[in-house]
């Protein structure tokens, strides 16, 4: 299936994460349309289950985008988010799925260039790795 487009899900915190995405769009930056954003109040809200479920439901890659750890709106939220992502990565490596498919990022809301970089990194990875279990769905 040559025409298959990658599918990337991004769980973005309502604070710096989503603001960084919005700012980059407003600054005229383009990024790949493959990314699907799901807003959560804080990356600490992200449950490993959400990430795994997204992979189950057809995501090639999932990223979580939160505030900078030293400047998280909810104090320790993005640290919690990182730990959740790390645990999912561990689970994925245990089941033999590329753990790089899941990644945590942090960005300041004032940073307009970071979000497109995250998207292009994850989309490139999704293209490289292809869908989980090959192209049949």
């Amino acid at each position: 299936m040559a025409g298959r487009k990658p599918k990337v899900v991004g769980f973005c915190c309502e604070r710096h994460g989503m603001d960084a995405a919005v700012l980059s769009a407003r600054s005229g930056k383009e990024f790949d349309a493959s990314v699907r954003l799901v807003q959560v109040p804080c990356t600490g809200r992200v449950d490993g289950m959400h990430i795994l479920k997204a992979l189950e439901d057809g995501a090639d890659c999932v990223f979580v985008l939160g505030c900078l750890e030293k400047n998280c709106y909810y104090d320790t939220g993005s640290i919690e988010g990182r730990k959740r992502v790390e645990y999912v990565k561990q689970m994925l490596s245990e089941v033999g799925v590329e753990k790089e498919r899941v990644e945590m990022f942090n960005s300041a809301s004032t940073n307009a260039w970071m979000f497109p970089e995250i998207v292009s990194k994850m989309v490139a990875l999704a293209k490289k790795l292809g869908p989980i279990g090959g192209e049949k769905q």
Partner: protein, 526 residues
Amino acid sequence: MKAASIQVILCKCCTELPAVLNIERLRKLAEESCNVVSVMMVDAICDGKGLPAVVNNAKEAEVDRAVILACHKKDIDPALFKAYRRAGINEFMIEIVNIREEALLPHASEPERAQLKAETMLAASLARARLLAPLEKQTEAMKTKNVVIIGAGASGQAAAHAAAKTGAHTILIEKTGKSLKAPGIVMPHSQVVGAKGYGGNYQLTIKAGDKIENLDAAAVVIATGGGWTQLKGPLAKAVKDAMPLYKLHEHLQAGSVPKGPVVFVDTPDPTGKTMKVQDYAWDDTLETALQLKRKARETQVFVIFQEMRAFGLSELAYKEAADLGIKFVRYDKSAVPKIDPKEPTNLIVKDFAQGDVLSIKIGTLVFSSIPANQDNQAIADALRIPMSVDGGVRRGSIQRWPVTTPRPGIFVCGSALFPKSNEVAKAEGEAAGSMAGEFVAKGEIEFGGSVAQVTQEKCSACLTCIRTCPYEAPFIGTASKAEIKEQLCQGCGMCVGICPSKAIELHHYTDDQIMAQARELLGGDF
């Protein structure tokens, strides 16, 4: 349960949306979707003109929720939610979809993909909207109109004046016994040692002299300021007679000029990890360097820094500095300035911009910075607010709320955040004081809405939520199960994400809502 009946609003964003997307296709998709009873197009939801028609339409169609394809939710006028409320639609039943910044703008060069993505986003938000539930916020009256200001320095006094203007009772808590004039009450020799409660109704424990007193506070302003320091690290060993900026300032005022060349460094500890370049350093370093150079043209002046940040119009000083021949050398953290091993009176700096390694003879070394107040940690602990790595108080958001903390009702200003000049500190004090005053003027606190809730039957009382929450909202209730104190809950959902028994749900961001949206988004092929 009654089936959802959804109103879909398509905002054209003036002409932006139709320029890229096929709005008719979106309309058709919306109309054909389950539970959608009404679809409306508006020119621009943000100008408020279309609002009455939208709300009337919602009433007529008897919808109980709405999905609005527009832009960033934070930029939607609160009037929209108020108007819907009048029409009997709860604000938590309104789903704003950011079609503009998530599909329209970033994918404008691929209109077909943008279109498919927008359609998928519509489907996903409908899926999420079907799972929404109305949430009522509650209120609690504030017991007092007290705004307690900790620290009676420049920012604290400014805060007191500003807060008093709004009609709040101000109480200034000052550690020292210095006499000052400020509105309201001044408590000298006092410190905050403990706090209970939440924004609107705090109970502070104050140590006044030897006595411990309780003080109700509706809002608190932290204005603890900063203090001076000595040169630190390897430079301190090598340079014995370095002086802090304010000393040099005093010398200049008294008419004496220090031995040249004069080298200004931006921090008392270039090798240190916690000290960062401060506003203070910049405004006042520049100003002092200029004063020096104006007075003694022949004296060589170097300013060595990592990051330059002059406040507002102070930036104009760069030009004069350049004209007068002040040399600026930017260094990088990886190559901090150090004493020349061959020539102990010289400082070696690698110019980050040019790549040259300079050896500058030191006549006088002047360092500038104020470390955070040592009391900040104790106050942050008492009020349970986060600290920054520099030892300052952490603020809510640098753009949106520069003088708030993540805890409602607690404001912060001046050098308590990080060292800064008197003028900036005063301006921040005013801002924090009036915000605190306005907060208190409301007379009641609003809480609830998107907060966490425990399903007690599932709770294992494992204490994980209690240990994880930064706001101390979860507690073990009388049934020996976890409960959430809604007034304290900030709705971050950290407890929800970590609960091993899945006994906690965050209203408005439930697992089902999050996963339904993600699933639907993955359904689209674009």
